[in-house]
Every structure is written in structure tokens, then in C-alpha cells.
């Protein structure tokens, strides 16, 4: 099957706009280079024609923007969602954060996204990036011949272990080539669990020491939707920009991971946007893995309205002490 093109998507959006079925289109807008794509709202076919882009760098999960737009805009909003994005969308519906009536959700078949940071790491002065069957040709100022980077090498972290999910909760689905599932997403979690406490401490110490406290990981997260985050509140005593020491900085990440546990769909946005490439998804995946083993497999966002294990009580639930026994038994 063919990869779906930007033309197909913008054509679909334009016809719904022109027919008055939707008033706005939430999609991706092209930038200065081939990789710097910005989430954007389009209001006309002309705007779409001019700026709409869909390629392997259209990574941004647009579902969180619907919280803001379904409140501030009157009229229906068409949103393009990749399979993994639909889980965030569904989770937001479960949490009553989006007015579903105002949304027209269109599923985009995804064939795996590229990590712009991985490409840029080894290429200075990029002038163009073109997609080929097997990967990307990266043209730079410093070499006449473009450098080739394979699709696998450039793949976005979250896509490395795409579970080949189907879209859910859509009004319409566009057909096209889809990505084949690959690695087990818990492999790295297991590797971390197998470390000694000291090794694990040093691993996180090294990763989190780069944190610049920008909170982009939280701001982009579809599970972080508090009206006022405690870490933004100057009266809370734990305001993030003012972390008194590196311990407080690390606490932020651990507390955030706790707070989204059971609601995190593993959409991968936190790690993708981190300016310091901190693998935050590993904290979340650890929780997901634990929830799966303690309470049975659970995928946040899989169905609308279900109660997550951590906010649901069942007489068969593990007691905290059993969790310890269980864990110690596992390690033995």
C-alpha cells in the first residue's frame, strides 16, 4: 500500500472546510527547513495549500491542543491523528478534557516518524532532507553528495517499539501504508531493572543532570492537563524554575511520572521534545510495566471511560506488602 501524502490529507481537509462540515483544521505547518514543523490551525483551503505539511517529521501529537481549541473556538475542528495520538485523544475524552462534539477526528496511517535530532546530530549545515524508500538523503553545506541515514537509524524513539496499534475513536480513517511493529517497549525497562541500584542511580544522575528545567516535557504531555501545575505555583515551595538543588530537579521528574501513572499512554512526546534528549519515557514505561504486572495488562486510552487500575478498587488488588514480596520474588 502507498504512503499517504500531504495532498491527500490537505485535500480531505479542504473539502470538509469548503462544505462547511468543519470550521478549522488542526494539522502541521511547514517551516524553514525540511524538519522544523509546527502544529498549526488552518482556516481556509488556501492556507492549507500554502503551508500544510505531512511527512516523517509531522511528529507532534495534536490531541492536547484540542483542550484549548474546543474551549476557545466555536465551530467544528478537524484534527489529524496518528494511531498512537488517538490513544491520547481517547484518554483526554475519558478525563472529560475535550468537548467531543466539537471535534472531527481523522486517522492518518503512519509509517513511522523520523527523529530530527538523530539526523542533525551527525549532519552540520543541513540544506535539505529527502525521503527515499529505505531512509533519508541528508544534503548539507559540507559535502557534495548527500549522506544517507536509514529509516531504522532515524526512527523516533516511540516508533522503535510501535505496537502496530490501529486507530481508535475516529470519525473517519484514511487508508495508507502502516508501520510494522518492532522492538519490545519494555526491553529498556528490563535493562534498567537488571542494573544494581548504584548503576541505576548513576544512569539517572547522568541523564537528569542535563535537565534545564524548562518543563517542555510536562507542557507537551497530554496527561499533564492541570489548570495550574504545582511546579508553576510560586506559593507551593516547589516551583520548578527555582529548584534549590539538583535533588529537587530530580524529584520533579519522579513526581510527574507518578502523577501520570496509569494515564500515560506512552505517546513519547516528553522524550521527543526534551531539548536535552533525556529518556523520560523510561520512567513512564517502568510504571506501565509495573501496572501491567500488578493489575493485569492495561493500556491507557484504549477505550473511552474505563477506570484505570490505580483509580479503581477491586478486592483482588495487591496489598502494598504483596508488591514488595512479588518484587523480591521476581528478583530472586
Amino acid at each position: 500500500m502507498q504512503k499517504v501524502t500531504a495532498k491527500t490529507l490537505s485535500g480531505k481537509a479542504a473539502s470538509l472546510l469548503n462544505a462547511g462540515e468543519v470550521k478549522y483544521v488542526l494539522g502541521w505547518k511547514k517551516g524553514e527547513f525540511d524538519y522544523d514543523i509546527t502544529p498549526a490551525l488552518f482556516e481556509s483551503a488556501e492556507e492549507l495549500e500554502k503551508d500544510f505539511v505531512w511527512n516523517d517529521f509531522s511528529c507532534a501529537n495534536l490531541s492536547k491542543y484540542l483542550i484549548k481549541y474546543t474551549r476557545s473556538l466555536s465551530g467544528k475542528i478537524l484534527v489529524f491523528l496518528k494511531p498512537c495520538d488517538t490513544f491520547s485523544f481517547n484518554q483526554l475524552l475519558t478525563e472529560h478534557r475535550i468537548d467531543r462534539q466539537k471535534v472531527y477526528a481523522v486517522g492518518v496511517p503512519c509509517s513511522g516518524m523520523a527523529d530530527e535530532k538523530k539526523i542533525r546530530e551527525n549532519a552540520d549545515g543541513i540544506t535539505a532532507i529527502s525521503e527515499t524508500e529505505e531512509g533519508y538523503l541528508v544534503h548539507t553545506l559540507y559535502s557534495d553528495a548527500p549522506a544517507f541515514i536509514s529509516k531504522e537509524e532515524a526512527l523516533l524513539e516511540k516508533c522503535l517499539s510501535c505496537k502496530g496499534w490501529a486507530h481508535i475513536a475516529l470519525d473517519e480513517q484514511i487508508e495508507g501504508e502502516v508501520f510494522a511493529p518492532s522492538a519490545d517497549r519494555f526491553d529498556q525497562v528490563k535493562a534498567l531493572e537488571n542494573m544494581t541500584p548504584d548503576e541505576r542511580y548513576h544512569f539517572w544522575q547522568n541523564e537528569l543532570s542535563r535537565c534545564i528545567r524548562c518543563n517542555a516535557c510536562r507542557d507537551v504531555c497530554p496527561a499533564c492537563t492541570c489548570e495550574k501545575c504545582v511546579f508553576d505555583n510560586p506559593n507551593s515551595g516547589v516551583e520548578n524554575k527555582a529548584a534549590a538543588n539538583s535533588f529537587e530537579e530530580k524529584m520533579f521528574h519522579i513526581i510527574r511520572a507518578f502523577h501520570v501513572a496509569g494515564r500515560c499512554t506512552d505517546c513519547g512526546e516528553c522524550s521527543r521534545v526534551c531539548p536535552q534528549k533525556i529518556p523520560l519515557h523510561l520512567l513512564n514505561r517502568k510504571f506501565i510495566n509495573d501496572i501491567d504486572s500488578f493489575y493485569g495488562e492495561y493500556q491507557a486510552g484504549l477505550d473511552e471511560g474505563s477506570r484505570a487500575p490505580l483509580v479503581d478498587y477491586d478486592t483482588g488488588d495487591l496489598e502494598p506488602s504483596q508488591v514488595f514480596d512479588w518484587r523480591d520474588g521476581q528478583n530472586a
Partner: protein, 342 residues
């Protein structure tokens, strides 16, 4: 001009480090460069620029200003200052060197910030010319020449040598520390490198960008521009752009209770944050559009208005490279800059 064979680079670093704390860009495990203290075995990064700018050395992200110790009815003021040691920052790019001038105008204007002033006094800056400018670089738009980096010492790195020349007394003193490894050299290799840098600069994707339509006195022209809406729409308010920016200079000062006393500290703040400059009457900029506009108006209009036309962007490209949604000053300039006074 002095010439140092790259074979002796580590020996030279060791000599400097024996005398001063020496910081230089090194690759980290994430594949990016960051300023780290030099230790035996450290490798100078080949990357064009670091993720975080070197402004941290003069204006740290968090610093204690003073402490208060309470005992009974008396309060002692405790001096917590630590910025009295000379140090060397090596491998600073031309854009970042220029950023210090932007910060100086803010922190050294009377009443001068004595913390910043003493760090500036104690800091020795060794700059290096850029042989591989990135697609995100646009220093030239702000009349910065990456082939003529300023600083106390300017360097040029070729395949086998490092050429150094001192621009200040501090720089002379630093070169004296490594004189046993350097020799006099003509500037043929350096001239050649400058030429090739300039050729690359002309080919950069952002080579034609200019801030000409911005500057002091343009507040009215740009403040209510309709473009701010679409430009700021996707902004997360994360402040990554302000934290990686070498010229962003806003901070907050707070008192932190320690149990028996108080520590007064300051930390970077960001105009992109919802609580920025919150006063008793509330927050002056209640929408992300206003906060977003502030950052760019400050760099392109307000700052030049108060500083003889100097812009407070040096074109380092960090905000282009790190913004999670890829919105940045270049897109703002392009969207607004084409407009003419009617």
C-alpha cells in the same frame, strides 16, 4: 599570532587547568556538546555549538545571593559569595562572545550587578572561529563575523594546529601560561580559513535574513500585528527558548526557608511563564500570545531602543534548534519583517 600544534593541545590545557578552572565544550552521552570542567582525558567537542549557552558562567541558572541566620532576636547576614576566582571559558563562538556585550548592558549599567560584574572580571574568554556554521546560524544578520570572534584570546583551529592571538591583557597573561607549547607564526593559514568561513556564510540558508525593519521606536508598528496570533498559537510556554538563549536575562529573586534561617537566591525566569513578573495586582500578561510577543519584542524592539540600536539576539540558532514546536525568532522576523510603515 601564536601557533600550537594540536598534538600539544592537551598539554596546553593541562597547563591552563593547573592555574585556573578551565571549562570547554565536551560531548555528552546524548551526543550534544556542553561546557564541562576540563579534566585529564577530556576531549574538546567538534560541535559548532553547545545546547546551553555559556551565559551560565556569568549569570548562573541558580545562585545564592546571601543568607540570613536567625538566633533569638538577632539576624545575621551571611556572605555566601563565591565568585572571586579567575576561570577560563574556552571555545566560545563569536555569537556567544557578542552575547556577553548584550548582558553587560543590562547587568553592568549602574546600579551594576556586583555578582555578574565580579564573574565578568574573573572570567577569561577564549573564542574560536566557526569552520562549520549550521543551517540554524544567522549571526551575520546581527553583524557578527564568525571568522573574527572577539574575547580575550581568539583562536582558529585547522587540521593540525590551533592559532591563537590575544586581544586583551588577560589574554596575554593566558597565552604566557602556555608559551612553552606555542611558537610565532604568520597568519597565512588563518587568512585562508577566514576566507572559507566567509564563503560558507554566504551559502547558509538564513544568509539573507536581516533585522533592518526592526529596532527602537517600532513598538507601535509591531505590537498589534495580527501575525502574533498564528505565530504564538502552538507555543507551549515552556521557556526552552529563553533558557538556551545566550542573551535572555530575566531572573527572579526569592527567599528560601532553611529552618533556622533564610537563603536568598536568584534563578533564571522566563517571560514565557505564566507567573512571570507576577505582582500583587496579578500577572501583567495573561495570555500566551502576550508572553510570546514580549520575548521577541524585547529582542527586536525594546532592547535596541534602550541600547543604541543593539539587538538582543546574536543569531546563535539555539531557539531554532531546541524549541519543541519549532517556533523561533527567525519565523517571527520573517512573518513580521516584510511589513513597511504605511
Amino acid at each position: 599570532m601564536r601557533k600550537l600544534s594540536l598534538e600539544n593541545l592537551n598539554l596546553a590545557f593541562a597547563s591552563i587547568a593547573a592555574k585556573y578552572p578551565l571549562y570547554l565544550p565536551q560531548d555528552n552521552s546524548a551526543g550534544d556538546a556542553e561546557y564541562k570542567k576540563w579534566e585529564q582525558g577530556a576531549k574538546w567537542s567538534d560541535k559548532t555549538n553547545t545546547v546551553k549557552s555559556p551565559k551560565d558562567f556569568f549569570f548562573p541558572q541558580t545562585e545564592d545571593l546571601m543568607a540570613f541566620q536567625v538566633s533569638g532576636k538577632s539576624i545575621d547576614i551571611i556572605d555566601t559569595r563565591k565568585e572571586s576566582e579567575d576561570f577560563v571559558v574556552f571555545g566560545v563562538r563569536a555569537c556567544d562572545v557578542k552575547s556577553f556585550e548584550v548582558l553587560d548592558n543590562v547587568f553592568l549599567t549602574e546600579p551594576a550587578d556586583s555578582y555578574y560584574a565580579s564573574r565578568r572580571e574573573h572570567g577569561i574568554i577564549v573564542s574560536v572561529a566557526c569552520t562549520r556554521p549550521l543551517e540554524t546560524c544567522f549571526c551575520k544578520a546581527f553583524s557578527i563575523d564568525p571568522s573574527e570572534p572577539a574575547g580575550d584570546v581568539s583562536c582558529y583551529k585547522t587540521d593540525d594546529s590551533l592559532y591563537l592571538s590575544a586581544n586583551t591583557e588577560k589574554g596575554e597573561a593566558l597565552l604566557a601560561v602556555i608559551s612553552e607549547y606555542t611558537e610565532e607564526a604568520d597568519d597565512a593559514a588563518v587568512s585562508k580559513q577566514k576566507e572559507s568561513i566567509n564563503k560558507i556564510m554566504d551559502r547558509l540558508p538564513l544568509a539573507s535574513l536581516t533585522p533592518a525593519s526592526f529596532g527602537g521606536g517600532k513598538t507601535k508598528e509591531f505590537f498589534d500585528a495580527p501575525e502574533w496570533k498564528s505565530l504564538s498559537e502552538a507555543c507551549l510556554g515552556c521557556g526552552t527558548c529563553t533558557f538556551v538563549c545566550p542573551t535572555c536575562q530575566c531572573y527572579d529573586i526569592k527567599d528560601f526557608k532553611t529552618g533556622s534561617g533564610v537563603i536568598r537566591y536568584r534563578c533564571w525566569d522566563s517571560c514565557m511563564y505564566s507567573e512571570f513578573t507576577k505582582m500583587s495586582a496579578g500577572q501583567p500578561r495573561t495570555s500566551q500570545l502576550e508572553r510570546f510577543r514580549q520575548r521577541f519584542m524585547h529582542k527586536l524592539v525594546y532592547y535596541p531602543e534602550n541600547n543604541n540600536g543593539l539587538f538582543s539576539c546574536v543569531g546563535c540558532g539555539r531557539c531554532l534548534s531546541r524549541c519543541p514546536i519549532h517556533m523561533n525568532i527567525v519565523k517571527v522576523m520573517k512573518a513580521l519583517g516584510g511589513k513597511k510603515d504605511e
